[in-house]
C-alpha cells in the first residue's frame, strides 16, 4: 500500500491511539508531523521500532545550532509510560520529556551544532503487555 495514502487514514487513527503494529504507529505520528507543518515544522525522518519493557531504541542525529527540533511519538496499545531522551556523544543527558504517558514530545534548541542520540525508552508498559510499537519522527523549524 502506498504509504502516503495512509496519511488520510491516519486522521482517524490519531484520535484513538491503540495500535497493533509499527505501520499504524507510523501513520499516527505522520499525521502529527503533517499537522506540525502549519506551525512551521518540517520532517527530517520518521521511523519506528518495537520495544519491550525497559528496552530502548536509539537514533544517531546531527542537530544544527539555530534550528529548533521536536521529536514526536506515537506508541501502541499497552504503552503506559514511554520516555524520549536526548544524549550527547559522551552519554550525558541533554534533554528529556517530562510527561508521563505513551506519546511523549520533546522540543530542543541546540546551542551548538553537534551529533546526539535520541533515545526512545519503554519505561512502563501496562500489565500483560510484552512489547509495543513506538513510532518516532524528528522535525525541525
Amino acid at each position: 500500500m502506498n504509504k502516503l495514502l495512509l496519511c488520510g487514514l491516519a486522521a482517524c487513527l490519531y484520535a484513538s491511539p491503540a495500535f497493533a503494529d509499527e505501520a499504524e504507529a507510523e501513520a499516527c505520528v505522520r499525521q502529527k508531523v503533517w499537522d506540525g507543518y502549519s506551525e512551521g515544522w518540517s520532517i527530517r525522518t520518521l521511523t519506528s521500532s518495537t520495544l519491550a519493557t525497559g528496552s530502548t531504541q536509539n537514533y544517531l542525529v546531527t542537530l544544527y545550532k539555530g534550528n529548533e527540533y521536536q521529536v514526536q511519538t506515537c506508541s501502541g496499545a499497552g504503552a503506559k509510560n514511554i520516555d524520549i531522551l536526548l544524549y550527547d556523544l559522551n552519554g550525558q543527558i541533554k534533554a528529556r520529556d517530562d510527561a508521563e504517558g505513551p506519546d511523549p514530545v520533546l522540543t530542543y534548541k541546540p546551542d551548538a551544532t553537534a551529533t546526539y542520540y535520541i533515545v526512545a525508552y519503554a519505561r512502563e508498559l501496562n500489565a500483560g503487555t510484552d512489547k509495543v510499537p513506538v513510532a518516532v519522527a524528528l522535525t525541525y523549524r
Binding site: 500500500m1 502506498n2 504509504k3 502516503l4 505522520r30 508531523v33 503533517w34 507543518y37 518540517s42 520532517i43 527530517r44 525522518t45 520518521l46 521511523t47 519493557t53 525497559g54 530502548t56 531504541q57 536509539n58 537514533y59 544517531l60 542525529v61 546531527t62 544544527y64 545550532k65 539555530g66 534550528n67 509510560n81 531522551l85 544524549y87 556523544l89 559522551n90 552519554g91 543527558i93 551548538a112 551544532t113 551529533t115 542520540y117 535520541i118 533515545v119 525508552y121 519505561r123 512502563e124 519522527a137 524528528l138 525541525y140 523549524r141
Partner: protein, 284 residues
C-alpha cells in the same frame, strides 16, 4: 508532665542497663542483598559505549532544506538554490548502481531546494529523473506510484508548492530511507551521500570570503562523513578506475580531514571543499 518525665527516665535506665555486655546489633546477613532495582527506573542503563554500539543512523543526515535554514540562522543570507549547477545525469544505467544512487541523491536535493521557485516543467523533469533513478535501484512500485501521483497533480495544478514540499520532505526523509532496494544496504546511504555532497558544495559556495568559518557547523560533520565512508568502503562497491566509488571515497576522506580540524575553516579550506565536491559531482 511529671508522668512524662518519669516514663522518660525509666526508658533511659532500661537503655543503659546492658549488664556490662556490649549490645549485639540486630542480626544482619554477612553480605547484604542488593536492593532490587526499581521495576521502572527513571533512566535507562545507557553509557556512551552502549549508545554508540546500538545506534541506528536513519536520522543522522540533516535534510538540505534544514541546512538552508541553519545557514540563514548562522547569518549567511545566501539561497542555496541559486548556486545549483544544471546537470544532465543518466539515471537509466543498470550497470553502475552506485553512481545511479548518488545521482538520485543530487536530483532529490536540487528538487527540494527549488520546489518553491522552479517552473512546473523543471520540477516535473526532476520528478521524472527521481522516478527513473529509484526504479533502476529497485525502489519498488509504491514509491514510483507516489512520485507519479505528485507529478500528475503538479501537472494539473492540483498540488500547491507548499504541499509538494511537504510531500517531498517526507519522500526524502521517511519513505526512501525505509525502502529495501532489493536488499542492497548501501543504496540509501549513497542516495543520502549524493544529497549531502550537493549540499556541502552549495554551502561552501555560499560562504562569504571575509568570514570563511561562518558555515563550520554545516560543513564539519564528522559523524555524517564517517557514516558515508563506512558504506562507500564496503565490500561490493565499484572498484573500476573511473568508478564513482573511488572518487567519492577520496572526496569524503578530504572532507573528513577538514571535519577533524580543530581550528576554524579558512578560505583555502572552503576552496578545497568546493573543488573536491565539484570533482566528484562532475564525475557523475
Amino acid at each position: 508532665m511529671i508522668r512524662t518525665w518519669t516514663l522518660a527516665a525509666a526508658l533511659m535506665m532500661l537503655a543503659s542497663c546492658g549488664g556490662g555486655e556490649a549490645e549485639k546489633p540486630a542480626e544482619t546477613p554477612e553480605t547484604p542483598e542488593a536492593p532490587a532495582p526499581p521495576a521502572n527506573p527513571e533512566l535507562p542503563a545507557l553509557d556512551a559505549a552502549s549508545l554508540a554500539a546500538s545506534a541506528e543512523s536513519i536520522a543522522l543526515v540533516p535534510s538540505i532544506v534544514e541546512t538552508q535554514k541553519a545557514l540563514n540562522a548562522a547569518g549567511i543570507e545566501a539561497t542555496l538554490a541559486e548556486k545549483i549547477v544544471e546537470r544532465n545525469f543518466d539515471l537509466a544505467s543498470k550497470e553502475d548502481l552506485d553512481r545511479v544512487a548518488v545521482r538520485t541523491g543530487v536530483i532529490l536535493a536540487d528538487m527540494l531546494l527549488t520546489i518553491k521557485t522552479a517552473e512546473d516543467a523543471e520540477l516535473i523533469a526532476k520528478l521524472d529523473g527521481l522516478n527513473t533513478g529509484l526504479s533502476q535501484l529497485g525502489g519498488g512500485a509504491d514509491i514510483q506510484s507516489t512520485i507519479s501521483d505528485m507529478k500528475e497533480r503538479l501537472g494539473v495544478k492540483a498540488l500547491t508548492r507548499d504541499e509538494m514540499l511537504q510531500e517531498a520532505d517526507e519522500l526524502s526523509g521517511a519513505l526512501i530511507p525505509e525502502l529495501e532496494f532489493n536488499g542492497r544496504k548501501r543504496t540509501v546511504p549513497l542516495i543520502q551521500a549524493g544529497s549531502w555532497l550537493e549540499g556541502a558544495n552549495l554551502v561552501a559556495k555560499s560562504v562569504p570570503d571575509d568570514n570563511p568559518s561562518a558555515a563550520d557547523g554545516m560543513l564539519k560533520q564528522p559523524a555524517v562523513v564517517d557514516y558515508f565512508i563506512k558504506y562507500v568502503k564496503e565490500e561490493g562497491s565499484d572498484k573500476a578506475p573511473d568508478g564513482v566509488g573511488e572518487k567519492l571515497l577520496e572526496s569524503l576522506n578530504t572532507l573528513k580531514g577538514l571535519c577533524d580540524k580543530a581550528e576554524p575553516l579558512t578560505k583555502e579550506d572552503i576552496a578545497t571543499i568546493i573543488k573536491t565536491t565539484d570533482d566528484v559531482l562532475a564525475l557523475l
